[in-house]
Structure formats: C-alpha cells, structure tokens
C-alpha cells in the first residue's frame, strides 16, 4: 500500500507540473534564506572562535594595591618603621623563573606571554639625545610600558642615568613595534639568543657615530654593573613621545645591569607580566589555577587580573551579527511554516474531491495524509537540492561579506594589542600591518624567535570557512522537513474531520 501511495504521489507531482514547479520554487526560495541564515550563523560561530583565539584576553600579574594598603595600615597601627613601609610600597615583581614556569605549565591556556626589565645606565663616552623632558637629565624607565619625552636632534653630555635600559622578552612587545611607529633602519631586531645585543635609536647612533656591529659600554650608576653591548639594529620611530635614549635588548641582557642581589643568580624580578590567552573563555579558569598553584604571589602582594576587554569589545558586534542571523532564521522558519501551511491548505481544499474519492474507495485518512506528505517531501527535496547548489553562491556571498567586515575589525584590534612581527594570525595568515624585517635580518627575526609560545603562534593560522558546510546542508534538510511536517498539522486536522459524503456532496 505504501508503494501505491508513493506511486500516486509521483503521478500527482508529474501530472500537476505547474503546481510542482511553483511549490519547488517556493521551497527553493525558503531554503535559500534558511541556508543563508545557517551560513551566517556558522560564519559568526567561526568568527567568535577566531576572535577568542586572537583576542583571547590578557591575564596579568600586578601589584595588589588593596593588599599593600591593608598591610601598611596594619604596620602603622603597630607603630612600624616608615622606611620599611616605604619598601613595601615598592612595586612588587614576579621572578622570571615563576613567569616562565607559569607560561610553560599552562601552555594550553597561554598563547604567548611578555614581561620586561627596566633600569637605567650611563656612559662617560656617549652623549645622549636631548629631549624636551630630560634636558639631559634622568629618565624614568618606560620602554615597555610607554616611552617618555620627546626626542630632538640636539644633544647633551651624558650625565648620571640618562639612558633607559628596556629589556623585553620578545621585541614584538616593544610599544613602537606594537603600534607600528618603530622601523628598523639598519640591522635587525634582537631575539632571546641575542645576548649583549642592543637596539639603539637612529638619533643616538648618529650622535655617537655608532653603527651595526659596533660595541659600547654602559654602566648602571647605582649598581655599578657594567655591560658591554653590541649594536644589533638601529631603529627609527615616528612616535613623538618616543625617547631616543632608550636602548632595547632582551631581558637576559637587561638583567645584567641589576645588582648582584637583584640579579639573584638569574632569577631576577620582571615587571609587566602578561599572559595572552588562547581563548578568552579560559581566562578565569587560568587565573584560578594560578591562584591555587602559586600561592606565593598573593603572599607577595601580587594579584592575577583578567582583561578580556579586547575580546569583549569585538565580540559584541559579532554576537549582534549572530543575533541578526538567529532573527533571520526564526523569521524565515516561521514564514516558511505559515506559507507552506497555507499552500498545503489550499492544496488540500483543491483536492477535497480527490481525497473524497480515495476515501470512498476505502483509503484511510492516514493514507491520504501520507500521500500529501510524500508529495511535499519529494517536491521539498527538489527545492532543497536546488538551494544547496545555488545557496553557496547566494548565501555564501552574504556570509562572507559579514565575516570579512568582522575579521577586519578583529584584525585591527589584534594588531593594536599583540602585533608581534611574523606572528600575525589574520584569516589569510598574512603579516598584515606588521613591521617588515630588513632582508638581511629577516631570518633572525621571526624565524629565530625561539620562544615556544611565539613559535606556536607563528604556526597558528586561523582559516575562516564561510562556505556552507555539510552540517549546514544537513540542517537545511532537517529544518525543511520539519517545516513541512509542522505545516501539515492544520491541513491534516481538516482532512481528519472530513466525511467522504460531505466532500463528495460538496463536489456534486
């Protein structure tokens, strides 16, 4: 009987060709809209994952000022020594081994990390570039967190601590590199293996007649530590606030300017410790793990703080697109149910006579409804297949344009915040917006970036697939069939209420 039912369905579809074409077109259009919504949803989901991986949030270890103030208050009440209290107020730091250990132990969470060592030095043989703020005087360390003072071409004799030593674990985290204001005029950037290598400003080099490969000696006025440095590169900067007297190097080299006590056999303290998350969703979990595994941080008045503002800022717009896609999907599905219901009701009304005849011949109501379902499923399948063929073009184009605009916005955020040269993870894996390394030094740039995290990051290319996927097609067919079944509820009720005599009498 099922075979006969299918046979009648096929006959009806074949012989009522005009109706079949119209129904197929309606299903085709509905399916295209549904597919577009699925593609957008899928693109948005991919974009969210992309944003999570690129703007995964930052976890930083910083001074717990509340805790410090509380301790001071307690000490004051106990009549403590104000000098000791002043020492307490000094900005707490993390030792480098702890920072490295956290990054290594939690590599599942940490995409990359940065820290810095800042100190100062002077030289009897070198002149410093006179800036508006220093006038040849002392500079506060600021290479990593933001250089101070505007440089000028005039000079003064180096006095005391005119030169800022800025040690960074990866040159990508120098402010000038991040905001693209810094360019290499000669030589290359340093890397982790560039021991005793320094990156000096163009003005400083000009003033002192230094070029790549030259060696000069600097001395920390306070610690008496003396370090001989070789120029690895000469940078220029378009940043007005940049301090031309800042010399950049890796943290190992910078730490040599510390006192023996502070150097602490290589376990020196580092500042501005930031861990960049692989996924912003994992940031809180990462923080709780650090807090439980490294209780000494809290004891030393340090706290672990999460900053997912970059991800949050872009995720809002992506989520709004996702919400838009959801709205489209809901509207399209409701519209499809209404339209298909109306079509089926009209169809059932038109076929009252046929239904009556079949019932008079002994057909059950289930059999009659089954025939109509079979017809709609066959025609719907035709429409869905056509939509699958063209939906990639139509809906895919729509999804792509939305994702592209979001990607551009995400990349902009990512470059502003993380722009490590050679490690950009834009959708095409390009190095967009990153400072290019000089040809000679290119190999020693990104390729020699031996930090495991940095290599992981270099290798990571997020491919955004905004084309319709197998799951989208599968969802389209499932949704389509569900729409047909839901749309058949009302017409089926009306068929169930039919008495053949009423139908046939109506006809007659």
């Amino acid at each position: 009987m099922f075979k006969n039912m299918l046979k009648r369905s096929f006959l009806s579809i074949k012989r009522k060709f005009g109706r079949t074409v119209i129904l197929t077109l309606i299903f085709f259009m509905m399916a295209n809209l549904v597919l577009a919504a699925f593609i957008i949803k899928s693109a948005v989901s991919a974009q969210m994952d992309y944003a999570k991986s690129t703007l995964g949030g930052t976890v930083s270890i910083q001074a717990d000022m509340d805790s410090i103030r509380e301790n001071q208050k307690t000490e004051m009440e106990k009549g403590g020594d104000p000098r000791e209290m002043f020492k307490e107020m000094a900005r707490p730091s993390v030792d480098v081994n702890t920072a490295n250990e956290i990054a290594t132990n939690y590599s599942d969470y940490v995409r990359d990390y940065s820290y810095s060592v800042s100190t100062s030095a002077n030289s009897n043989n070198l002149e410093t570039v006179e800036t508006k703020s220093n006038g040849g005087g002392m500079q506060m360390p600021g290479g990593f967190g933001g250089a101070d003072g505007k440089s000028s071409s005039s000079s003064s004799t180096a006095l005391d601590t005119d030169i800022t030593i800025s040690g960074v674990n990866a040159y990508a985290y120098i402010d000038g590199v991040k905001n693209e204001s810094m360019t290499i005029k000669d030589g290359s950037y340093f890397d982790e293996d560039s021991t005793d290598k320094a990156l000096i400003s163009y003005e400083f080099a000009e003033l002192n007649g230094l070029s790549v490969g030259d060696t000069f000696t600097l001395k920390n006025a306070y610690t008496e530590a003396e370090v001989s440095l070789t120029v690895i590169g000469i940078y220029d900067t378009s940043e007005e606030r940049a301090d031309a007297n800042t010399i950049y190097m890796n943290t190992e080299t910078a730490a040599k300017f510390l006192s023996t006590e502070d150097y602490n056999n290589g376990n020196y303290n580092v500042d501005n410790v930031n861990f960049y998350m692989t996924n912003s969703d994992k940031a809180e979990e990462f923080v709780s793990k650090i807090n439980s595994d490294y209780t000494s941080l809290a004891e030393n008045n340090l706290k672990v703080a999460v900053d997912t503002s970059e991800y949050d800022s872009i995720s809002g717009s992506i989520e709004s697109v996702g919400g838009f896609a959801n709205t489209i999907l809901i509207i399209v599905i409701i519209a499809a149910i209404i339209i298909v219901t109306l079509i089926v009701m009209i169809n059932v009304k038109d076929r009252r006579y046929e239904i009556g005849v079949l019932m008079s011949l002994g057909a059950s109501k289930k059999n009659v409804i089954g025939q109509i379902i079979a017809e709609l499923i066959i025609v719907g399948t035709l429409g869905f297949i056509l939509a699958s063929a063209t939906g990639t073009v139509f809906a895919g184009t729509l999804g792509k344009s939305i994702v592209d605009s979001q990607t551009a916005s995400s990349n902009s955020q990512q470059e502003k915040n993380f722009g490590r040269p050679g490690a950009s993870s834009s959708s095409k894996g390009s190095n967009s917006g990153m400072p290019e390394m000089p040809t000679e030094g290119s190999d020693s740039g990104a390729k020699n970036m031996k930090t495991k995290m940095a290599e992981n990051r270099n290798n990571k290319k997020v491919e955004l697939d905004i084309n319709a996927k197998v799951e989208d097609y599968l969802l389209l067919f499932i949704t389509g069939y569900l729409v047909i079944i839901v749309a058949l509820i009302l017409p089926s009720i009306s068929i169930m209420r039919y008495q053949p005599k009423e139908i046939l009498a109506g006809k007659e």
Binding site: M1, R8, Y353, E354, S360, K365, K501, L504
Partner: protein
C-alpha cells in the same frame, strides 16, 4: 447467502426551518445475485440512503448489517474497503490519472493487483483510450471508466448513483447488462439509484422511496 439488511433506518437533516426527516424507519433486505433499483422523486432520500449503505455518512437511527456484521461495529473506512464500491453520478474519477490508473486505484488499498485493461474492455474502453488522462475522455467514457473501477474492486456490494445518466441509449443498455452480470454471474449485490424507469425495469427488484419511506 450474502445479505445486506437495512433495519429501522431513519435520518434527519438540520436546516434553517428545523429538522427535516429524510428517511423514516426504512427497512430492506438485499440479497447477493440480484440487481436492485431504488427509484423516487428528487428529494425523496435516495442519495441519503445510498450514502448510508455505502458508509459514506454516519448512521443516526437504525442499523445496516452485512451478513450480520453491523456497520455500527466497524469503521466506515473498513466497510467501504471490504464490502462496498460506489459508482457516482459525477464519475468521481481522479483527473491527473489516466483511465487505467483510475481503475488501478480501486485495488490500491486492499493489496491486490488488477489488470485495468480487462475491466476497461468490459465497459468498451479500448487500451489506447485507457492510456488517456481522464480529461481527454468524453462524459460517457468517463462514466464507463467509473464503472470499470467498480468492477475492478473486490467488493460484494456495488452501489451506483444514476450510473447511466450521461450515457446514450446503446451504452446505457450495455452498462446495465454489465451490472446484471455482476449480480447474476459474480454473485454481487447491485443497488442502482435511478430516475430512469427504463433502468429500473431491468432490475430484479424495484424499491420506491416516497417521503422517506421505502416500499
């Protein structure tokens, strides 16, 4: 012997002027192997009686039994599938099907397989005509296809509502002969509702409906 009994059958319609009784305590017995004609004026209740016997409508009062099986105890769909087939005045053929396919539909729901040409040829429809869509056949041909469909059914009861209304005299004669054969040779109960005195005269028994009463 297969017997169809109509027992104390009454039927009323509700309309604007109140309740109108169409059938009033009708009793009848139809036996296999005989052709019956039910005649009566327009509005006498002929089609209502046919609808009730065919299980196209629900019983109100009274009962219809086929071999003691009450229509009250089985569903109308089962009764139509197993016991009765109807030839409608307006043919009631499915328009997107050919004549052959319309005849085949008669066996769609009982699992049998029939040779439509065998039944179409009985009513004078050629094999070539049988392959035409219903709309391509004349009224008379369509009526014959409807009769062929009834022939193709396995039902012991054949009900026909004005089956010759659209046929010329020769064809009418032929069709009536077929109905008689169905009754006499295939031992079916054939009940024809008609206005035609000529058709009624050829029946084995004529029943007249007058003001809802059968005599």
């Amino acid at each position: 012997m297969n017997t169809l009994k109509v027992e104390n059958l009454s039927y009323s319609y509700q309309n604007a002027s109140g309740t109108q009784k169409v059938l009033d305590d009708v009793n009848a017995e139809f036996k296999a192997g005989k052709m019956y004609a039910i005649v009566g004026e327009s509005g006498s209740g002929k089609t209502t009686l046919l609808s009730l016997i065919s299980a196209l409508d629900k019983l109100q009062d009274g009962d219809i039994k086929y071999n003691s099986k009450s229509l009250k105890r089985i569903s109308g769909q089962e009764f139509r599938l197993k016991y009765v087939n109807i030839v409608f005045q307006s043919y009631n053929l499915i328009k997107y099907m050919t004549a052959r396919e319309n005849v085949e539909v008669a066996s769609d729901f009982d699992g049998r397989k029939v040779d439509p040409d065998k039944y179409l040829s009985k009513v004078g429809i050629s094999s070539e005509e049988g392959r035409r869509l219903i709309g391509k056949l004349s009224g008379g041909q369509q009526q014959r296809v409807a009769i062929a469909r009834a022939l193709a059914s396995n039902s012991p009861i054949i009900m026909a509502d004005e089956p010759t209304g659209n046929l010329d005299e020769d064809t009418e004669e032929k069709i009536i002969e077929i109905f008689k054969e169905l009754a006499h040779k295939e031992n079916k109960i054939v009940i024809i509702v008609t206005h035609s005195r000529q058709v009624a005269n050829k029946a084995d028994k004529v029943l007249t409906l007058r003001r809802g009463k059968l005599s």
